[in-house]
Symmetry: C2
Subunit: 140 residues, 2 copies
């Protein structure tokens, strides 16, 4: 067993936080590791909070919310609003869309290339498009 001080994975995550301009505190690092160490994920604040507890990471729910929002602000995450009182954070910040399974409440990515969004109307009044969300809601 080696000391769990700084594994390669930690360094990557640490770099990521620093680059984003976020201080790599103990809890942010721990949360970032949970989020980014295993491919793309869709998490809720509550879900991440529980996961943290399961991994003996001691953080408060408020801190989880803060971290999630900080990450989102720095484009490390993307927030997806399914309905009032169910919003997910997606570690995939690239261009893509989603399937939402109404029964299970789960999300699944859809690569941007899979959907042809043609003839997008001009945003009125010279507005600029911040983002395009596409959610395909399916009933199993």
């Amino acid at each position: 067993m080696r000391a769990k001080k700084t594994s390669p994975a930690d360094l990557t995550v640490l770099e990521r936080l620093r680059t984003a301009g976020l201080r790599p505190t103990r809890q942010r690092l721990a949360l970032a590791k949970l989020l980014f160490a295993q491919g793309h994920r869709h998490v809720t604040a509550e879900g991440l909070f529980n996961e943290a507890k399961d991994n003996r990471v001691d953080v408060s729910l408020a801190t989880v919310y803060n971290a999630l929002h900080d990450f989102t602000e720095k484009s490390l995450l993307r927030e997806i609003s399914i309905d009032s009182s169910r919003s997910y954070f997606d570690t995939n910040v690239g261009d893509h869309y989603h399937f939402y399974f109404e029964q299970t409440g789960k999300l699944q990515d859809i690569p941007a290339e899979r959907i042809a969004l043609a003839n997008l109307p001009e945003a009125p009044g010279g507005a600029t498009v911040a983002r395009v969300d596409v959610i395909i809601r399916v009933r199993d």
Copy 2:
């Protein structure tokens, strides 16, 4: 001035409620009139509640929520979730998408024909598509 008991518009709205299988009570009728009497609209529960007050329609906020949900359930309305704590009800239940103006918090319809959604991936596991939401978020 004619009596305001039953104008043609009222009858239409009344029919609409009955057809949907909703009892046309005083408050549902009043709310439905506000909603359907003037073209397509995007309202929030709070907004409709205030509008009702302005029109001397005396309903409680809970009733507004109930009515909105009842209407949505009967497909008289469609609910659009912008983010946690901001959801709109759209009187246009046809196929269409939306612009969302982040500064003003307003919605604008985009006719379905204006966007080509091609090659929609099969919903996994034989699931059926309940609805496709497209929200183009713009910054003025």
